[in-house]
Symmetry: C2
């Protein structure tokens, strides 16, 4: 087989250095600029367009027809792509046939092949970006950066961890000690053994960002991977599977180490895959409800979940109200709040937000934020770049339910409305709904409202807000949290409270970096300490249960 | 608080070096010789005797009376010790109070305290050895070595892994990159967060060897530990808890970070502890049946199990029949086969075992082994040192059931019988029962017979035996396996087959080292690949799920 390790050794070494130093490093550029990428921009679009209204051929065993139904949130028209429909028994048999040779391949060679797959994904980032855009509703720049290079970097990060963990186990050792007057000398061999077949279940809104790391961590440690995309968002991961299979084939390996199982919302297959006795590992990104079902039903299987939660912002004081309103306003709008890291609940002190020597009332603070958002969304072209489109009809229903509530309780501080996308007149769009609530309304805000529904919550004091936000994170799950305060003691209390709740905290962030941005190699994503998920991108525990160690020892 | 890290830094460094090199290293001596230990020998016995017929005081919150009923397998008399009976709600409340300060203690300081606890256990090895002997039935030398220094070394090994894993996460980093034309600089802080309360459930026959590592791994990573010993074998872990609490107190820490919950067979408490929502981690050593119950019922809790299985010996050929018979004979007798690593099923080729140029028939091979065993057990004093006593009446019932089967199916190749223990005339003893079976009798041998029940199984060929043994390991669980062969190709097939089944293999081991011996720092114990357990002593995955990482980032 082709050895790709040396080709990528320098990049791997940089990744290894950076998962330790946690400094900033990007092997790939996340700007989709034509100046950087040249004709790859147009080639990617053409490649995407050529996929439409065609069967997506994968040459997989067990193909018994076609399935799949995706609708672009931008055109609200079907993509018209169908994917192999699979006889799972036949597919799993083929995967079992592929496993022994892959298991026997050295970790070094496996990591080399995986590095090449990441490289291949990167070369096809533009095609992938259009696929992400027209399934998830992300704007094109986000679909490129977040679904392409940033996701590939998280895959690389998982690979670096896999390599480091596997390197901790020597292949052999000589062991010698006396028993009584006799010296006993043993040669010991330690084999890294994969668990077998891993199922990676990807989500509808960020399919690649979580699935790439899981795919890489599984494959590098010797497992085979079955990718089960969300039925609304198949294409991005179908492309990832196709590219992985191509690299495996070119390397002289069995392509069935990476396979796709597509399904539809009407005939879902995730539970079938989870229930199969020979599914050994499950990686899941998606709803908290299904994540909990998996945790209850995947007895004895190694399970990694990332679901969602209730991310809070606690405002105590600032010396830069304008910057705060711009930065936080952007974060509340970004991708129409369809991200697992999006803030949802903004706590504003009833007695007023301290701004320098002044104090802004709840209404003044809320107004400043609403006006900032309105400013951001005033220009349709700019609004399109920030909001993107709404991934599904169901999310519009969530917004409608929230509006109805707002008409009877609390106050609608900003109403949701469609906006006219300049390029796609039929796009499914909605600007954010902002409800003004009281801290006593936790029956309303203390749960996830996935989509453009935001709560501004009046609290008696910043510390009351902090306690409530941390409690919600613990009980409902949270990935990120945000605090603004010029009071070092309050910041420290916020750090303690959110650490205790297992929600990462960003303090006083103002500027062009999206608040929700999580950098590969540096930002740990999901703590595993609350219902938002049990796995972290990427720590050692994301990787080292995926392989086991078996030894043999021989008398010398 | 007292800082013990520097005191133990050199020992920790040696442990760190050795978990990587897997070479032989023992910080402690596992011989109970008076020449080495001087008056510690007598002091340990006196300390044990002073514990008898007394309440075991622990000064734990929630004590509402006394419980516990242990019977010495050597005297068949009650030990007469009672332990605190606990109101779990009160105890857990006290543990919750102890957690924040321990969590805030640096990993360095925590590891220092844990090293001191291991040292304290070591200083009290003789007292512990008598406690192990008179609860488990182990012979005194085994109770000292396996229950003392060897168990302490596995605790140290877990500590080294905990330290290495925690060291992989820097406390902070500076991160800087451009967004557009703006340079964004963040200071990031990474906190190691324990999960909370860990329950360590110890077993009846080897209480300390598995529980010490779990206790250390949990405590070092910032969790509190509730120890729940087997109701038949409380004293060894009660001593471990008492010593740990003493060290914690001396260090100025809350002793409730390590507590004991004792129970009786009539009123067991393990399920109550597992079901408590604030039990976050479960470590279990014991029966496969209860282990499976835990895996089905510990939803979402981090669970580490080590149960048991069917360990096989496959005989193909040897050039040292006498050595083989002595070494294997000893292993079949050691501690009356009450070890999770004891061989149970010995496969002998029907066509004959090749010995040099000759071939021994099944009967000749079986006879050689039986005679070797009879020789080992001829002298009561020597027999006592090897067999020890039978831990419980229930194990005698297992032997009786096997005898009854042997009278109707297969053949009794060696009958079980009590032997007269030279020191303890009332000891509960039984020499091994050996049944001759056919490979088609897998309804009889393909399950665990815990205690002195051994099967000699006639196979058509060594490869048929290998296939059956590996299948049994996969389906019923196995920790160790053993093969004897002078044929390099057969050895390779055995290595592949048992690796695939997740059972460690010892090849051609002949000599004074007990076959079942597993060395801390070098031998991985339990692969996690079959029903014999999901955790390995000790790899990185035994440790690094016990803590999580939460970050906060601040604009610079």
């Amino acid at each position: 087989m082709t050895d790709y390790f040396d080709k990528h050794a320098e990049r791997l070494q940089q990744a290894l250095d950076t998962i330790q130093s946690r400094a900033a490093w990007s092997p790939f550029t996340d700007s989709p600029s034509r100046k950087i990428h040249g004709d790859a921009v147009d080639k990617g679009l053409a490649a995407f367009q050529a996929r439409l209204h065609q069967p997506f051929e994968l040459d997989q065993p067990g193909t018994i027809g076609y399935t799949g139904f995706e609708v672009s949130p931008y055109t609200q028209e079907p993509l018209g792509i169908v994917y192999p429909k699979t006889d799972l028994d036949v597919l799993y048999k083929a995967i079992h046939n592929a496993l022994p040779a892959w298991r026997a391949t050295s970790p070094r060679a496996r990591v080399g092949v995986c590095m090449e797959i990441v490289e291949r994904w990167n070369q096809n980032s533009f095609e992938s970006a259009h696929a992400v855009m027209h399934t998830t509703g992300q704007s094109f720049p986000m679909a490129f950066a977040g679904g392409g290079p940033n996701a590939q970097e998280r895959g690389l990060e998982a690979l670096a961890h896999a390599w480091r963990e596997m390197s901790h186990v020597l292949p052999s050792a000589t062991w010698e000690r006396a028993f009584g007057s006799t010296q006993v000398k043993l040669q010991k061999h330690y084999r890294l053994m994969p668990r077998g077949i891993a199922v990676v279940i990807a989500c509808a809104t960020f399919p690649t960002w979580n699935a790439y790391p899981a795919l890489m961590a599984n494959l590098a440690t010797g497992n085979a991977v079955v990718v089960k995309p969300h039925p609304a968002t198949i294409l991005p991961m179908a492309l990832a599977v196709a590219h992985a299979r191509a690299v495996l084939r070119e390397a002289g390996l069995d392509p069935n180490l990476v396979t796709l199982v597509a399904d539809t919302a009407a005939e879902p297959l995730a539970k079938d895959l989870i229930a199969r006795p020979d599914t050994a590992i499950i990686d899941f990104t998606g709803s908290a409800q299904f994540g909990a079902w998996i945790e209850q039903n995947a007895h004895g299987k190694l399970t990694f979940t990332e679901t969602a939660g209730v991310n809070a912002v606690v405002l105590e004081s600032t010396d830069n109200l304008k910057g705060l309103a711009q930065t936080l306003g952007s974060a509340l709008c970004l991708f129409s709040k369809q991200m697992c890291t999006s803030p949802q609940n903004v706590y504003i002190p009833r007695q007023g937000l301290r701004v320098g020597d002044a104090a802004l009332s709840f209404d003044e603070t809320a107004n400043a934020l609403v006006e900032s958002i309105n400013g951001l969304l005033a220009e349709p072209a700019r609004a399109a770049g920030i909001l993107g489109a709404i991934q599904s009809e169901n999310i519009l229903n969530v917004v409608e339910r929230a509006r109805e509530i707002g008409q009877t309780r609390g106050k609608i501080l900003r109403d949701a409305a469609p906006y006219a996308h300049p390029e796609f007149p039929n796009a499914r769009t909605r600007t954010p709904l902002i409800l003004g609530l009281d801290i006593s309304d936790d029956d309303l805000y203390a749960r996830e409202w996935f989509g453009p529904v935001i709560h501004f919550i009046a609290a008696d004091t910043p510390d009351q807000a902090l306690a409530q936000a941390a409690r919600d994170a613990k009980q409902c799950g949270a990935i990120n949290s945000y605090a603004y305060s010029t009071d070092a003691a309050f910041v420290e209390r916020a750090q303690d409270a959110f650490a205790d709740a297992g929600a990462n905290l960003s303090v006083n962030l103002i500027g062009p970096m999206p608040l929700t941005y999580a950098a590969a190699f540096s930002d740990y994503h999901v703590s595993g300490m609350n219902p938002a998920g049990n796995a972290t991108l990427t720590d050692a525990s994301f990787v080292n249960g995926r392989f086991r160690i078996v030894q043999s020892r021989t008398q010398q």
